[in-house]
C-alpha cells in the first residue's frame, strides 16, 4: 500500500524543527468492522537522519494517532542539510520522505 508523507525542516537560531506527517491508518487491532476485528496495522519504528547521521529513533505503539504528526528538534544542522524520515510498520511496509533544511 502506498503511503505518502510530508517532511519539513526549518532552522531558527541554532535549532532545526523537523516535522513529519505520515499517511497511515495506525489501526489498533481492537476496532471492529461489522463484528470482524480490523487487524492491527501501525508504524513500529520511525527514524530521523540529518546530514547522514541518525538523530532520532522512535519506537511506536498503536496509541499513536492515525495519520500521525511528529515534531522533533535538532541542534547543529545547517541550511541545505538533508533531513530524511523513514518508517516501517508491523506488516513490514516502509516509507520515507525528506526535506532540505531551510531558514525559518
Amino acid at each position: 500500500m502506498a503511503s505518502s508523507m510530508r517532511v519539513r525542516a526549518l532552522l531558527k537560531g541554532d535549532v532545526t524543527a523537523i516535522t513529519a506527517i505520515v499517511s497511515h491508518p495506525m489501526e489498533t487491532g481492537m476496532r471492529k468492522d461489522g463484528g470482524k476485528v480490523i487487524p492491527a496495522h501501525f508504524i513500529q519504528v520511525l527514524t530521523v537522519d540529518v546530514d547522514g547521521k541518525r538523530v532520532v529513533t522512535s519506537h511506536l505503539n498503536t496509541a499513536v494517532s492515525s495519520n500521525p504528526v511528529f515534531n522533533f528538534k535538532v541542534k547543529g544542522a545547517k541550511v541545505g542539510d538533508k533531513a530524511v524520515v523513514s518508517w516501517v510498520d508491523n506488516l513490514g511496509e516502509k516509507g520515507s520522505g525528506e526535506a532540505v533544511v531551510a531558514a525559518g
Binding site: M30, R31, K32, V50, H59, N61, V64, S65
Partner: protein, 156 residues
Amino acid sequence: MNVMRRSVLRSMGAGSALAAMLVTGLIRPIQAFAADWSKAAFEAKTVPDGMKAIGASGAAESKDVVITAPAIAENGAVVPISVVSNIPNTNSISIFVDKNPMPLAGSFEFANGALPDVAVRLKFSDTSVVRAVVMAGGKAYTSHKEVKVTAGGCGG
C-alpha cells in the same frame, strides 16, 4: 542479548534484583531496547510492567520532565502531547497513557544533536494520566499529567 534479557526479566520477581543487575552491568536495558521494537515493553498491559520492560522501574519524579497536554480533550483519537526534558544527558523519552490497553505509546531516542523534545498526537481510550519517562545518564525520571477525555479514541 534481547532474548536472554527477556528470560532474565521473566524469571525475576523482585525489583531490587533488577536494580542490582543494572548496577553491576549484567543487563543493559537501554541498549537492548534501542536494538529493536520491544514486544515486552509495548504489549505490557500495565504501567509498572511497561516501565520495568524499558528499565525505568522506580523512576524519580522530576519537574525537569515537562509535559504539555490539554487539560480536556474533546477527541480522544487525537490528543496532542509534547514532552521536553531539561535533564542533562537525556538519552530517551518514553510516553505512557496509563488507562490505554497497552500503556506505552512510544519511545524516542536522541543522538547527534537531537534535543530531548518531542511532540506527537496520541489516542486516549478514556480520561487518563499521561506519563513521560526520561532516561538520562543511566537513571530514570518521570512526571505525569491528567487529560480528561470527553470522547474516547478507540471506539468505532
